[in-house]
C-alpha cells in the first residue's frame, strides 16, 4: 500500500498540469462550498463537460478533490450565517450558528477546519487500506432493512435536539417527516399531497427547505429584533480552539470517523446521513444533552468529522463496485465514462495508476483543508463585519439563487420563503428547526428503505427483526425513545409537584 501511495504521490506532484488541477480542485471546492447559494455540485456540473479534455486520472482526481474540500466548505456558511452549503452541513449549523451568535465563531470554524481535515484524512487512509473487502462486506450485509433501522435509530437519537421540550422536538421531527411525504412515493410512484401541481410531484427539495428553515427564518428573526431595537450583531472572534480544548473531544472525533465512514460506504446514502448520525451519536453519548443546539462545540466537531469521513468511504463502493454513494460520486461515474472507462472492479485491474493518483489526491486534499482552511478562515470571518442591512438582502438573494439553481423551478424559491416564514413562527414557539430538517432529509431515505425492506421480508416483522443489524438498531432506537419519554414524563411530574 505504501509503495502504491508513494507512486500515486509521485504521479500527482510530478506533473505541473496535474498539480494545477489539484490546486484548482482544492480551492474551487472550498469556495463553491463556502459561497452561500452554490455548492460543490454546482462546480462539478460546470466542470463535467471540460473533464473530457483531461487525462482520465486528472479528471477523476479533480472531482474527488472537489468532493473532499467542498464537503468542508459548506461548514463555513453554516456556522457564520446559518446557511449550510449542502444538506451534509445542516447539522453543523445546529450548534455552529448559535456559537457565532455567542461570539465564538472562530472556535466553531477552527474546529470545523481541523475536524474536517482529520475526518477526511482518516477516511482516505481507511479507503486506501481496505477498499475492496469493505465494499464487499457492506454490500452483502447492509440492505434496505438495515438502512431503515439506521435511520430510525438516528431519528430517535437526534430528535431531542433544539426543541424547548421533548414533545416539541418530536412534533418538529414529525412535521419534517410529513413534508418528506410530499410528491411521488418512492416505491410505487403514486402522487401524494401535490394538489394537482406537477412540480410538487417531484417533492420538496432539500436545499430550498434547508435554506428557508435556517437562513430565511434567521433573517426574519434578526430583522424583528432590529425593528424592536434588540439586535446584537455577532461578535467577531478569530480565536481558534486550543489543542487542549479539542483534545477533550477526541472520543467524539473517533466515534464520528467510524459513524461517518460506515454511512459513507452505503450506496446511495453518503455524507448527509453520516453528518446526522455523527451528530446524533454525539447527543446520545453526551452527559449534557440539553446544551446541543445551543452552541455546543461537540456538535460542530461531530457533524464535520462525520461528513468528511464519509467522503473517502463513498469512493469505496464507487471504485470497488461501480456503485456511487451520492450525487457527486454519481457525477464521477460520468467522468469515468467520458474516458471510456467504467468505475468498478475492473478499474483496479486495468488502471491501478489512476486509482492511486486519486487516493493520494484525496489524502492531500484533506491535509490541505487544514492549511488553506486556517489561512482563509481569518479572512472569511471578516464577513461578520458586514452590517445586517447589507448582509440580509445579500443572503436572501444568494439563498434564492441557490434554491432556484438546483432544478430551475420557481416553486423551489417559493418553498424557501414559505419554509422561512414557518420556521420563523415555529422558532418563536420553541419548536426545533433541526428536528424539521432532520425529518425532511431522513424521512425520504427512511421511507424508501422501509418500503423496500418490508417488500424484501414479505411484510413479516419477525423476518425483519431476525436480521441482526436491524434488531440491534431498532431495539437501541426504541430504548432511546422510551428513555426520552420517561425522562420527559418524570420532569413534568416534578414540575407539577413543585407547583
Amino acid at each position: 500500500m505504501i509503495e502504491n501511495f508513494l507512486a500515486g504521490t509521485a504521479a500527482l506532484f510530478g506533473d505541473p498540469i496535474t498539480i494545477l488541477i489539484f490546486v484548482f480542485g482544492v480551492i474551487g471546492g472550498m469556495l463553491f462550498g463556502a459561497i452561500p447559494g452554490v455548492s460543490m455540485l454546482t462546480l462539478a456540473a460546470i466542470l463535467l463537460p471540460f473533464s473530457a479534455g483531461l487525462e482520465p486520472a486528472q479528471g477523476v482526481m479533480l472531482f474527488a478533490v472537489i468532493y473532499c474540500t467542498g464537503t468542508y466548505g459548506g461548514a463555513i456558511t453554516a456556522i457564520l450565517f446559518n446557511i449550510p452549503g449542502a444538506p451534509e452541513n445542516a447539522p453543523t449549523a445546529f450548534d455552529g450558528y448559535p456559537m457565532t451568535k455567542q461570539g465564538r465563531a472562530g472556535k466553531a470554524v477552527g474546529a470545523a477546519v481541523l475536524c474536517s481535515a482529520i475526518g477526511g484524512t482518516a477516511s482516505a487512509l481507511l479507503m486506501m487500506a481496505a477498499t475492496e473487502p469493505l465494499a464487499k462486506w457492506a454490500i452483502r450485509n447492509i440492505g434496505p432493512p438495515e438502512i431503515f433501522a439506521l435511520v430510525f435509530f438516528g431519528l430517535a437519537v437526534a430528535s431531542s435536539v433544539g426543541g424547548n421540550t421533548i414533545w416539541k422536538g418530536w412534533m418538529s421531527v414529525l412535521l419534517g417527516l410529513l413534508v418528506a411525504t410530499v410528491g411521488q412515493d418512492p416505491v410505487g410512484g403514486i402522487n401524494r399531497y401535490n394538489f394537482g401541481m406537477t412540480d410538487l410531484a417531484a417533492g420538496i427539495a432539500f436545499v430550498p427547505a434547508i435554506l428557508g428553515f435556517f437562513a430565511v427564518s434567521e433573517i426574519f428573526i434578526q430583522a424583528e429584533k432590529r425593528a424592536f431595537g434588540k439586535y446584537n450583531a455577532p461578535k467577531l472572534d478569530v480565536n481558534f480552539p486550543t489543542f487542549l480544548e479539542l483534545w477533550r473531544y477526541k472520543i467524539a472525533v473517533v466515534r464520528s470517523i467510524l459513524v461517518g465512514f460506515f454511512c459513507g460506504i452505503l450506496p446511495g446514502i453518503g455524507a448527509t446521513l453520516a453528518a446526522f448520525m455523527g451528530y446524533g451519536e454525539a447527543v446520545r453519548w453526551s452527559k449534557d444533552k440539553e446544551s446541543f443546539g445551543k452552541g455546543n462545540l461537540e456538535g460542530v466537531i461531530s457533524s464535520e468529522t462525520a461528513n468528511n469521513a464519509a467522503t473517502g468511504a463513498a469512493m469505496i463502493p464507487l471504485l470497488a463496485l461501480g456503485l456511487p454513494g451520492g450525487a457527486l460520486t454519481a457525477i464521477m461515474v460520468a467522468v469515468f465514462q467520458f474516458h471510456d472507462m467504467e468505475p468498478g472492479p475492473l478499474v483496479f485491474y486495468n488502471s491501478p495508476e489512476l486509482i492511486w493518483v486519486v487516493f493520494a489526491a484525496m489524502f492531500y486534499a484533506n491535509v490541505s483543508i487544514l492549511f488553506i482552511g486556517l489561512i482563509e478562515t481569518k479572512t472569511i470571518l471578516q464577513l461578520l463585519r458586514i452590517p445586517f442591512h447589507f448582509l440580509a438582502p445579500m443572503i436572501l438573494m444568494l439563498a434564492s439563487i441557490g434554491s432556484y439553481i438546483g432544478r430551475g423551478l420557481v416553486l423551489d424559491v417559493m418553498v424557501m420563503f414559505l419554509a422561512g416564514m414557518i420556521g420563523f413562527l415555529l422558532r418563536r414557539s420553541g419548536y426545533s428547526i433541526p428536528g424539521i430538517v432532520l425529518g425532511i432529509i431522513l424521512g425520504k431515505i427512511g421511507e424508501q428503505n422501509f418500503a423496500q425492506g418490508m417488500q424484501m421480508v414479505h411484510y413479516d416483522l419477525i423476518t425483519y427483526l431476525s436480521r441482526p443489524i436491524c434488531l440491534i438498531l431498532i431495539v437501541a432506537g426504541a430504548i432511546t425513545l422510551g428513555t426520552g419519554v420517561y425522562k420527559a414524563l418524570a420532569s413534568n411530574r416534578t414540575s407539577a409537584d413543585q407547583q
Binding site: 440492505g143 434496505p144 412540480d199 450525487a327 460520468a334 472507462m341 475492473l346 418500503a451 423496500q452
Partner: protein
C-alpha cells in the same frame, strides 16, 4: 495508451467469462448513416444563439448521459451550442411540464424517454410525444433482460430460475423500477402471467442501490437493460438469463429470448430521444431534424452508443420511425393498463 490497452484486455477476458460477444462490445461495425445530407443552410439564420435542451432526469443517469452525448455531437456538427437544463422529478413529468411551458420557437428542445408515452397512455391529458411534440430522432432503443449473479448456485438459467421461484411460494425477489404503470412493472406482469410464477418486485429508483442489491444477495434477480449493467457484465459479476426481445441479439447469442421460453407477449422497449414542440416553425423543425438525425451519425455519438450497448439492436428512428414506435407503445400500454384494471383517462 497503456490504460486503453489494459481496458481492452480486461473487457476481452470479461467477455469470455460472461459469454458476451466481444465483437459487439467493440460496437459500431458497419454503421451506415441514414442521413446523406452533410450540411444544411440555417433557415432565416436560425439558430443564431444556443439551444436549450430540457432533460427531465439528473445529469448522471442514462438520460443525462445521452443528452450530453447528443448535445456534443450536434455542436460538433453545426457549431451551435446546446445548454442542458436538468429538471428531474415525477418520473419525467416535471421536465415535460416545464418544456410545454417554454416558448415553441425551436430554440427549446426536449430529451425524453418512453415514460412520456406510458404517461400519456395512462392519462391522455398529458402531452402525447407523437402528436404534441415532433420527434427529432430516437437515438437509443434497447431491450430488457433478467440478470442473476454469475456466482449464483441455486439456479443458473431461466428454466431453473423459474422452477426455483415457484418453490419459494412468492418469497423470491427481483429488483427493478416497479412504479405504477412503468415499463418494468408491465413487463413483469407479462412474465409472471406467462410463467405462472409469483415473485416480489422491489422497486429501486436509483441504479446503484438496485445493482448493489443483486450483487450483495439482497434480491434474487434483477430486471434491467444491458447498457446500464454493462460494467457488471464486463466484470463477470452479473449474467443474463433471459432476453425480453423477439430475437437473440448477437451480443447475447447464448441467452434465450422470452418467446423461446414460451412467452408470447410483444416486448416493451426502452427508448430515449429528442423532441421539439409541434407548434415550432416548420422550417426550424426541419433544420433541427437534420441536425439531430445527422448528429446521431457523428463518431462521438456512435462511440457513446457503442459503449452503452446501444448498437446491439437498431437504435435509430427518424421522425416517422419514432412516431410509429411511440404510437405502438401508447396503444400497447393502454391495453395493458386496462387489462390490469388501472384507471385509464
Amino acid at each position: 495508451m497503456k490504460i486503453v490497452k489494459s481496458i481492452a484486455t480486461g473487457v476481452l477476458l470479461a467477455g469470455m467469462v460472461t459469454g458476451v460477444s466481444t465483437a459487439s462490445l467493440a460496437g459500431g461495425h458497419g454503421f451506415k448513416c441514414k442521413v446523406s445530407q452533410e450540411s444544411m443552410t440555417k433557415p432565416g439564420g436560425f439558430p443564431d444563439r444556443a439551444l436549450t435542451m430540457i432533460v427531465p432526469y439528473g445529469p448522471a443517469g442514462g438520460s443525462g448521459q445521452v443528452a450530453a452525448a447528443m448535445a456534443k455531437a450536434v455542436t460538433e456538427l453545426t457549431g451551435v451550442d446546446i445548454n442542458r437544463d436538468h429538471k428531474p422529478g415525477g418520473s419525467g413529468t416535471v421536465g415535460m411540464t416545464a418544456y410545454m411551458a417554454a416558448p415553441a420557437d425551436g430554440y427549446n428542445v426536449l430529451e425524453h424517454i418512453d415514460d412520456a408515452s406510458s404517461a400519456h397512455a395512462l392519462d391522455s391529458s398529458k402531452p402525447n410525444p407523437g402528436k404534441d411534440l415532433i420527434p427529432l430522432v430516437i437515438s437509443q432503443v434497447t431491450f430488457s433482460q433478467i440478470y442473476i449473479r454469475s456466482s449464483e448456485t441455486r439456479y443458473n438459467d431461466w428454466k431453473s430460475f423459474v422452477a426455483w421461484v415457484k418453490k419459494q411460494g412468492g418469497k423470491a425477489t427481483i429488483a427493478n423500477v416497479s412504479k405504477e404503470g412503468s415499463m418494468e412493472r408491465v413487463s413483469m406482469k407479462f412474465i409472471t402471467d406467462a410463467t405462472g410464477m409469483k415473485i416480489q418486485q422491489i422497486s429501486f429508483d436509483k441504479g446503484a442501490p438496485r445493482y448493489g442489491a443483486l450483487m450483495g444477495g439482497q434480491v434474487d434477480a434483477l430486471f434491467e437493460q444491458p447498457g446500464d449493467v454493462k460494467k457488471f457484465l464486463d466484470s463477470g459479476d452479473f449474467k443474463p438469463i433471459l432476453t425480453i426481445f423477439d430475437e437473440r441479439p448477437k451480443a447475447f447469442a447464448d441467452v434465450p429470448t422470452h418467446t423461446e421460453m414460451g412467452m408470447s407477449f410483444t416486448p416493451l422497449l426502452r427508448f430515449r430521444g429528442f423532441y421539439v414542440n409541434a407548434n415550432a416553425p416548420a422550417d426550424r423543425v426541419k433544420w433541427l431534424q437534420w441536425a439531430f438525425q445527422r448528429g446521431y451519425c457523428q463518431d462521438s455519438y456512435q462511440k457513446f452508443n457503442d459503449s452503452k450497448f446501444m448498437s446491439v439492436i437498431d437504435s435509430y428512428r427518424d421522425t416517422d420511425g419514432a412516431r410509429t414506435l411511440i404510437n405502438g407503445a401508447i396503444k400497447q400500454y393502454r391495453e395493458v393498463y386496462k387489462s390490469m384494471g388501472m384507471a385509464v383517462k
